[in-house]
């Protein structure tokens, strides 16, 4: 509960800081905040935009969470997201289920490169996952300029995927599905013995080993799930939102996922709230740019501030 308060306070503080920054640049802070609210949750159209935006943020956030719980920092959600999306595009001719499955496998495989290097050569996964991001980004660039370029050859983008995710009402099915994944991850982590062992590995791998846990296997599996979840994020974004692949497809979702996970206190359920908050910030900032001409980079600023507040507060607690 206390940690939920910290997160809520950090979110509020980040909004206050945003208003303050707006004021120092000569904008009315009240107007900025109002536009942010209206642009993100002020109308059913805005709410749909926020919900849609929350899907990749939530899934990349969850990807960071499960790896962290097993003691690994997966900075590679971006690359796994892309790997998933490419696989989903290729498999989409066999339908949505096949596409999502392929994305999960591709994401898991991409993450497993890092975890295997960690297990075999003790290569730090923070480095390898970042480097794998670069490879994935350039792989995507090559794909959309080369073999996967649209038939007309006009833009560096792929043809639309052969299948697309249906909508429930006016919201595409990725929204409820991503929440289902969050709940499933919570259940796995906190309601199963394997989850207990996974978390034990993250808390204290030495002690976990003494308790007879195969910590290498735990780490490997957590990283695979982590990559799979990010990959599914890529599939959802492709099949439900963009329908095509292009170079800036991932748009930094993998990195934003780290912020989502941190604000969500690295807990799967809290991640739903933090993903929604960051999604709202992003859609609100879009509105701010359209109506007030204020750069939407302000959303990134808001993210950064929320994270800094969270870190500052938890740091204080640890030293208290």
């Amino acid at each position: 509960m206390k940690r939920a308060l910290v997160a809520a306070a950090a979110s509020a503080a980040s909004l206050a800081l945003l208003a303050f920054v707006a004021a120092t640049f000569g904008h009315s802070p009240l107007l900025v905040l109002r536009t942010l609210f209206e642009g993100s949750i002020g109308s059913s159209f805005a709410i749909e935009g926020t919900l849609t935006k929350s899907v990749p943020l939530l899934l990349t956030g969850l990807s960071v969470v499960i790896a962290f719980r097993a003691g690994a920092w997966n900075i590679g959600a971006e690359g796994q997201f892309i790997a998933g999306a490419i696989a989903a595009l290729l498999a989409s001719r066999f339908g949505n289920v096949a596409a999502i499955l392929a994305a999960a496998i591709a994401g898991a495989a991409w993450a497993s490169i890092a975890s295997l290097m960690r297990l075999w050569r003790n290569a730090p996964e923070v480095l390898t996952t970042i480097l794998l991001n670069f490879i994935a980004i350039h792989l995507l660039g090559w794909c959309v300029n080369g073999p996967l370029r649209e038939a007309s050859g006009q833009y560096p983008q792929s043809d639309p995927a052969s299948s697309s995710l249906p909508a429930i009402g006016s919201v595409y099915v990725g929204v409820p599905l991503s929440i289902v994944i969050a709940v499933a991850m919570w259940w796995l982590l906190y309601r199963t013995t394997e989850g207990l062992r996974l978390r034990a590995t993250g808390f204290n791998a030495g002690a976990a080993r003494y308790a007879g846990i195969n910590t290498g296997w735990q780490l490997f599996r957590a990283m695979a799930i982590s990559g799979a979840v990010a990959g599914i994020g890529g599939a959802f974004e492709l099949l439900g939102v963009t329908h095509r692949l292009f170079e800036r497809f991932a748009a930094g979702y993998g990195y934003s996922g780290i912020a989502v996970a941190l604000l969500g206190q690295l807990h799967p359920l809290a991640n739903i709230a933090s993903a929604l908050f960051f999604a709202a910030l992003t859609t609100g900032a879009g509105e701010l740019q359209r109506s007030a001409g204020i750069s939407s980079a302000i959303a990134t600023l808001g993210q950064a501030m929320a994270i800094l507040v969270v870190i500052a507060v938890s740091w204080r607690r640890r030293n208290a």
Partner: protein, 425 residues
């Protein structure tokens, strides 16, 4: 020189509480210069807390302290940089300001320092993480002694040392005391405290219950003041019950760092019950008792199982939901023991299972190990505590430089162990 009448350390009315527990309750005593004082008491009696207050690591709630400026404290839990070599760890402890270092020079200086300390610790280029627990303890001691402290506090320093090493430590303590260093020696092994200390201060539940000069009291009497008259008499209990012919409880004894750790690691399979020497990593501090037990046995019925084990292993806890990290050392060890034995293992490896535990907890652990052996488990007790080995084991083997001696009966071992441990046999 010898002891003078000047008080080096004086405490008046020191009180410190953690929540509802009083770790120190109106403690008053003083120690003269060059005196060796044994501070004894059970786990949780408040010895370490009191000395941490003296060392300035912790503030008292109330009371007055007069302490010298240079205090060296050797903790039961080590403060070494595990990626640094012995030489580098010693360089960190020295009080010199900025200077250029080369590993060659650091190692030479470290060798000199170690020689002067009178403690034996070869090959200073080894990393702290590669040292055995016994060697780490020695390194800590060397660190504390190099700063030439006026007051030296040793928290359970002998728990990882062999008899020969203990004797060396005691010689060193006497030498330091003779040159004016005041020493407070925290322990719960009464005989060894009586061997070296001129005076004993006994603590129980945060209070000083006896403060006297050693020769006046027998070990039994002091033990009684320590536990407060409760004496379940493990040895008597055992003799009253006729022992069934049991599969052997085998003890592997040896000076720390002769390959015990490697032996334990090699023998440990995924399903072996294991009580690690490395106490800090025995349990997941951030998880509850129930969760720690569930790591082995699964979540199903974990709470009930934890409740039952807390009861039957007499673990002092508020319940299965208490975080393992908030338990006292003895109770943490009981949780490990409960978890490992509850599976009725075929093989149990216990590495230094009673190191740092008080009389009660030690007795309990011994009882449980014996019972596991009597119930049909093979128990391998790896220990540097000879008393423990001779008390419990059906057979004894000595490990020296990674090699095991032939298996011996207790009677045979009695005459040969010391030589085998020293590598002269």
């Amino acid at each position: 020189m010898g002891p003078t009448t000047r008080a080096m350390l004086s405490l008046r009315g020191i009180t410190k509480s953690f929540g509802a527990t009083r770790a120190a309750d109106d403690v008053t005593f003083s120690v003269g210069s060059g005196e060796i004082v044994g501070l004894i008491g059970e786990n949780g009696a408040g010895k370490t807390t009191l000395m941490r207050i003296v060392a300035g690591e912790m503030a008292a709630d109330s009371g007055e302290i007069v302490a010298p400026p240079r205090i060296g404290m050797v903790h039961q839990h080590f403060a070494l940089v595990s990626h640094f070599s012995i030489a580098e760890n010693l360089a960190l402890a020295s009080e010199r300001d900025f200077r250029f270092v080369s590993s060659h020079r650091l190692e030479r200086e470290a060798e000199t320092t170690i020689r002067e300390s009178g403690i034996d610790l070869p090959d200073v280029s080894r990393r702290a993480s590669d040292l055995s627990v016994g060697e780490r303890a020695k390194l800590e001691l060397i660190k504390a002694v190099t700063s030439d402290p006026e007051l030296l506090i040793l928290d359970e320093p002998t728990s990882v040392l062999t008899p020969i090493e203990c004797a060396g430590l005691f010689r060193l303590m006497r030498r330091l005391a003779a040159s004016g260093t005041t020493i407070v020696f925290i322990s719960h092994k009464i005989p060894e405290v009586m061997e070296v200390a001129e005076r004993l201060v006994v603590m129980r539940r945060g209070e000083v219950v006896a403060d006297t000069s050693a020769p006046g009291l027998t070990a039994d009497e002091i033990a009684e003041t320590m536990v407060g008259g409760v004496d379940a008499g493990f040895s008597r209990q055992r003799e009253s019950k006729p022992r069934t012919p049991a599969p052997p409880l085998l003890a592997i004894v040896g000076v720390a760092g002769n390959g015990q750790r490697e032996l334990a690691e090699t023998l440990r399979g995924a399903n072996t019950a294991f009580i690690p020497e490395d106490r800090a990593n025995a349990l997941i501090a951030e998880m509850t008792i129930a969760e720690n037990i569930a790591l082995r046995n699964g979540r199903r019925g974990a709470r009930e199982r934890a409740e039952r084990l807390i009861e039957s292993y007499r673990i002092k806890a508020t319940g299965p939901g208490q975080l393992a990290g908030t338990l006292s050392g003895g109770n943490q060890q009981k949780v490990v023991l409960a978890r490992e034995l509850d599976r009725r293992p075929k093989l149990l490896i216990a590495s230094e299972p009673t190191r740092g535990l008080d009389i009660e907890a030690t007795r309990f652990v011994h009882e449980q190990l014996r019972r596991a052996a009597d119930d049909g488990a093979e128990v391998l007790l790896i220990t540097s505590d000879l008393g423990e080995a001779f008390k419990l084991a059906d057979a004894i083997q000595v490990i020296y430089r990674g090699k095991l001696s032939p298996r011996m009966s207790r009677e045979e071992a009695a005459t040969r162990v010391a030589k085998l441990m020293a590598g002269i046999a």
